[in-house]
């Protein structure tokens, strides 16, 4: 017997590697290839370092107000956290606490953090099957559960569900909180936001890491009805009452307010993605029809792992999941047109070998 008896045993999530080479093409962690809005740089330049001696605003008022304004909801409907991972971790802790230990449901192929959070907080869960085309089967959520979570679009498949289908899931589960993880929603999918006035058991989670180019600032948020958001705030305030530091609040607020830049850069990424679909098809890849800033592609003859390794040797990084069911796929983040040209050139070389 020693102190080890008291330790919480976990299998931690393994994030994508973060290589740091000057000549690399980094298409492995779904970062935005464009810098954040110039308004972010301006806001940070205006930060008086002397103010850092003081705690930040625990209510994160400026950022919450900017988000409420952007999404036409009340500030009391918005929650901010240290990236959407923090928001989701707090949400698992808050909403998936059912006394009967009914399982939380999520798709079998999905964001690989869901089972990690469930294990960490000792929440029972069940992975539900996808359809053969990798799409989420809404009927799989019609069974007793202690909560539901899925990304829309789903990751790493890139496939989106229409909001009407999501409405069916939310409506059929009034006794559960249904979390729609919209990390990639800004790249061409309709958000479930319009369902909020009708369903108080719906929570929508988004991030600044993808469409707002602020992965390095750690910013995410949830939008839901006031009661749901208050529960989340209570648990956050029982964990850490000051999660958002001063630069994050400033940068996030500035980014949200620059709608024109947001629209311009996400449109550029969607255009590049559509071109990428053509190029990858020509190269012999198949993939679900992505609505995200990545493409989940499999080559008709060359194993994904071989392509992954050969790209890596050329300092082109994509994501490979050594996981049954998806181990012949590469998740390729959409970069700039110049980065994508480098990728196509490398793929042509590798596939011609």
């Amino acid at each position: 017997m020693d102190w080890r008896q008291n330790i919480r045993e976990v299998e931690p999530y393994v994030p994508g590697e973060q290589p740091n080479q000057s000549d690399m093409v980094k298409l492995n962690t779904n970062e935005n290839p464009y810098p954040p809005s110039p308004k972010v740089a301006e806001a940070l330049a205006g930060l008086d370092p002397d103010t850092l001696r003081l705690y930040p605003d625990p209510l994160v008022t400026d950022l919450i107000d900017a988000l409420a304004d952007f999404y036409h909801v009340k500030p009391s409907q918005v929650f901010a956290g240290v990236g959407s991972d923090d928001v989701l971790a707090m949400s698992f802790l808050t909403f998936f606490n059912n006394p009967d230990k009914k399982p939380v449901l999520f798709p079998e192929i999905s964001y690989s953090f869901y089972d990690v959070w469930a294990d960490c907080f000792h929440i029972p869960y069940q992975r539900v099957k996808l359809k053969d085309d990798f799409s989420i089967d809404p009927d799989s959520f019609l069974q007793p559960n202690g909560g539901i979570i899925f990304p829309n679009p789903n990751a790493p498949t890139g496939l989106a569900l229409p909001v009407d289908t999501i409405e069916g899931i939310v409506k059929a589960n009034p006794d559960s909180v249904v979390i729609v993880d919209e990390a990639y929603v800004d790249f061409g999918t309709e958000s479930a936001l319009r369902l909020l006035p009708k369903y108080e058991n719906l929570l929508i989670v988004q991030t600044f890491s993808k469409s707002r180019s602020l992965a390095g600032m750690r910013l995410g948020y949830a939008i839901g009805n006031e009661a749901l958001i208050q529960c989340l705030k209570n648990v956050r305030n029982s964990f850490n009452s000051y999660t958002m530091n001063r630069p994050a609040i400033l940068a996030g607020t500035a980014a949200v307010k620059d709608r024109a830049y947001f629209d311009r850069t996400r449109n550029m990424i969607m255009e590049t993605r559509e071109q990428a679909k053509e190029e990858l098809t020509k190269l012999g890849f198949t993939f679900p029809d992505s609505k995200t800033n990545f493409i989940f592609a499999s080559h008709r003859s060359v194993p994904a792992k071989k392509i992954f390794n050969e790209l890596r040797e050329r300092h082109i990084y994509v994501r490979y999941f050594d996981k049954s069911g998806i181990d012949n796929y590469l998740r390729i983040t959409i970069g700039t047109p110049v980065q994508m040209e480098k990728l196509y050139r490398a793929l042509r070389e590798i596939l011609a070998e």
Copy 2:
């Protein structure tokens, strides 16, 4: 039955108010009255906003290395988080997970977040009595437990235990992790760091919010043996693998490296504190002998709450806890000499009424 059945019920921690008036004297949340090191401003000026599109270093290497260097420990012995609250929350989750549900022990008068974390994570706990002079009774920790935590110096009393006494507690409890919360240790108390080579069940937690003037940046850390730190990292990586944003890593690293500034400012605060003890005694206050950046003071004739309210009317903010046993005390943060003069003047007026 509805979704509310699944909610985690909590009584959240209520942080000290954060008033924001230009003429105020803010002595209520133990912030440092001096700005962070000029090296912090330099480091932040060097942040290229374009890099914010990329995730930060998940290993927080620069900051961890700087702390390891400062404290003469291995980098694998250091864990960083979003303020010491985040580090402590993760530590409760990681180390106080005992299967027999034995209570975690902490002092009855102490940091008021301990019971909040325990409640939030459904950890049983027991508050142990202080001695009559408000000092921690080391014998109170000689009973079956699932973990031990106490601040040294204790808050809000300001009283410190000698390291030899702490050694007795750690040695007597090999089956528990003992967390020493050293948020205020840099203001004149010896750290328990020198015990680390002898005891693998000891975790030391510190913060950048007090002695390093970075409350607004949310930075804290833990130091312990490698096995303990690895457990903490595993749980953190099961919660949020990127908690530290780019500006926080830069600012924290620069602050740790500027030892001269750190020593100069903490010495100024300790000098002002010793003067404050004289002034407050002259004004009729009594207080435990603080080794922190605050004084926990009670007036021999005027109720604390009355003084608190009258100071507040003059825009001088101190902390008052409306809590049995300490409801006739004010916790007064040590400010600059100029701020303290304003406080003494106001107190003279209030007490002369």
